[in-house]
Symmetry: C2
Subunit: 211 residues, 2 copies
């Protein structure tokens, strides 16, 4: 399974999802290609790989496509998550409304700072770390979103894994190391900034198309 494809599948999902909401019932490979920023041929190849068939002259049916994408991504099942650390980033994420579409449900927000415990963050009451273990067990939580300080993130991560967490979404400014059976996504804003700056400094000056 092409690794780069997974990068695109999530985008296809977004587009299909949006198209569905706006009442559109089919999308063409050209349309998908446009939004994802690749060639239309590749979209068709991708569709072949994930097992979605289209119809010449019509395109792909949004319903079919979305169903298959949900299946591939695993969004059909409910995906419970907890947020650890409710500083600025943590509380913003805990309140972020856009996760519902992906079946990601935040079931607990934790902080080791007692002055934050008990505060309301969106619809979540901040809980002390002591409660974390039970929440994981009770809800069968598999995903943890870490927004704790970099200095504590790895230690926290290790502990969460012993408690059964198998997916880590890390916003602390360090790259977390995990055993091979655990999925980790290191978001790292600093690296994002560096990449953007690179592209700003090396952006394409608009040139006339080659003859």
């Amino acid at each position: 399974m092409p690794k780069a494809l997974i990068e695109r599948v999530a985008r296809y999902h977004q587009i299909a999802s949006r198209a569905g909401e706006s009442g559109q019932s089919q999308v063409s490979s050209a349309e998908l290609a446009e939004y994802v920023g690749v060639d239309a041929t590749m979209v068709r190849k991708d569709m072949a790989i994930i097992g979605v068939g289209g119809r010449p002259k019509v395109g792909y049916f949004v319903g079919d496509l979305l169903a298959r994408l949900n299946d591939v991504l695993g969004l059909s099942r409910r995906n419970e998550a907890i947020v650890i650390g409710c500083g600025g980033l943590g509380s913003a994420i805990a309140r972020y409304p856009g996760f519902a579409r992906y079946g990601l449900k935040i079931v607990g927000v934790f902080d080791s700072d007692f002055s934050k415990v008990g505060q309301l963050v969106g619809e979540h009451r901040v809980l002390p770390m002591e409660k974390c273990k039970s929440v994981i067990e009770v809800f069968g939580v598999r995903i943890a979103i870490i927004t704790a300080p970099g200095s504590r993130a790895q230690q926290l991560c290790d502990w969460l894994i012993t408690r059964g967490i198998v997916g880590i979404w890390n916003f602390a400014p360090v790259d977390l190391r995990v055993p091979p059976n655990v999925a980790v996504r290191n978001e790292n804003l600093g690296i994002g900034a560096a990449q953007l700056i690179y592209h700003v400094n090396n952006r394409t000056t608009p040139t006339a198309p080659a003859p």
Copy 2:
């Protein structure tokens, strides 16, 4: 210039930067490879491309490496940025301490909601959108960080570009479209979530090494 390389260069910078701070004066390709998650050979290839030479038995000098990386990424010059929208995500980003290392300096925080104008977000006073134009001009701002609602993001983006912005870091849950001479980085938390969920559901179960 290999596109995938740029993805790694920012990570090399992070590692080198950290190594320097902890007093380490050289790093080996194996060490860099370990952290970035690629083969050591590729690190050496990358170094050759960006023009960093190492020494057998020693590795790469952190000072040389960092200087070159700063140059390649364009972090030597100061990179002014503004933040538009100071909801949860916007204010978290405005206060994020990790950007200094990359020369990214936030010089203004804006919101169109008058009830937020005048509030203090970290060290920044929230300004009304009317002031945005002048701030861009006065500081020569090239980068805008958008955390406004998805519904307004594209319109805002278009306007910013007319005002001279050439780099957009977009946290709204839509993919912004920009002309080819503008750099855009669509961060999109929803898509990040979808990708993590995929990897959680398809993570490698630890198997015995092949015989």
